[in-house]
Subunit: 199 residues, 2 copies
């Protein structure tokens, strides 16, 4: 990628802008209530030009669905730097909860789930990312067990999945209520997770 090329640079910037406004529009109105005209207008470009950057609407949706994932790679690095598995788990929960309760993300997450349930192309990217997230969490659980910080009563993968369920469930409920998590809710979440891992 030659960033000294003025054309290419402004083109990638445009594309970035388009993706960002698409995320906004999609999370506000949903995939299928957002028209290509909406997107173009909101991004301040013409309809025809939008098609210069994205060949079709589904292509755009697909890109958003895979992009709107927690940035797993960075998360992995951050957690590797944690001193103890306990701290790693705490960090994981904090970060993922933060990501899920972001107002845009919660709506988009629901949108992606319901879309992914019937659209294989969407499902693929979403599942890949989710498995990556799971495997990180599983690793942490194994570390925890080795350090006697946890005594699992079920397969680590099931436990990890349940932890994600708790976080995502809380996020969804908060989005429904239009609120951010209170201290109490955070506390209950942590208690629930501690119970699940037998800490």
């Amino acid at each position: 990628m030659n960033t000294s090329n003025k054309r290419e640079r402004s083109t990638t910037e445009r594309r970035q802008l388009l993706v960002e406004t698409a995320i906004k529009c999609f999370s506000e109105k949903g995939f299928h209530q957002t028209s290509m005209r909406d997107l173009a207008t909101r991004a301040g470009i013409s309809l025809g030009n939008l098609y210069n950057h994205f060949g079709s609407k589904t292509e755009l949706i697909k890109e958003i669905a895979t992009l709107e994932a927690v940035e797993v790679r960075q998360l992995q690095i951050l957690l590797n730097a944690s001193r103890t598995p306990q701290k790693a788990l705490d960090r994981f929960v904090l970060i993922y909860l933060e990501a899920c309760t972001d107002p845009d993300s919660a709506l988009l997450f629901a949108e992606i789930v319901s879309e992914g349930l019937r659209n294989p192309e969407i499902r693929g990217g979403f599942q890949r990312n989710r498995e990556a997230l799971l495997s990180i969490l599983i690793q942490i659980l194994h570390d925890l067990e080795a350090a006697k910080g946890a005594t699992l009563r079920m397969p680590a993968e099931d436990c990890a999945a349940q932890i994600l369920d708790l976080i995502e469930g809380l996020s969804t409920r908060l989005a429904f209520a239009g609120k951010l998590p209170t201290k109490k809710e955070r506390a209950s979440l942590n208690v629930g997770i501690d119970l699940l891992i037998g800490r």
Copy 2:
């Protein structure tokens, strides 16, 4: 309601048929990818006639969203008949899991959630029903605690919400994989719930 009236009877039957095909269509294609023509064709009636039964598409969606609730009233009765709170809880989990993992329901549930997040009319009915479900579960938890079958480490409402999260989370994952729950998955779910209630 005069069921000896032939006209009224066939009308309510029609309406029932329409609601059922709407559920099918909506769960297959989603609210916004299903057109009124789709519905009419699928139900074997004309487009115009569809509007004789439902004034608008949103009215139809609203009806489905509130209807597609677990029949809480019956559930309540069934659970009251349970000998012990332990049995009541087991039944609750079994029934709700069954309801959530029904292929149609899982897709429709996701659809309602994502629609409810931005459409207050949908949200209302959904939340009302969910609160009813929660209050049943909370009651069971209190009974359990009184019978020394549980030692909650968090407010009963939070615990109940987390239990629902586990069930719904598992259901969603199963729907994504296109599978029904295995014995192992059911077992892990039960272990998770037992841990949450400190049993």
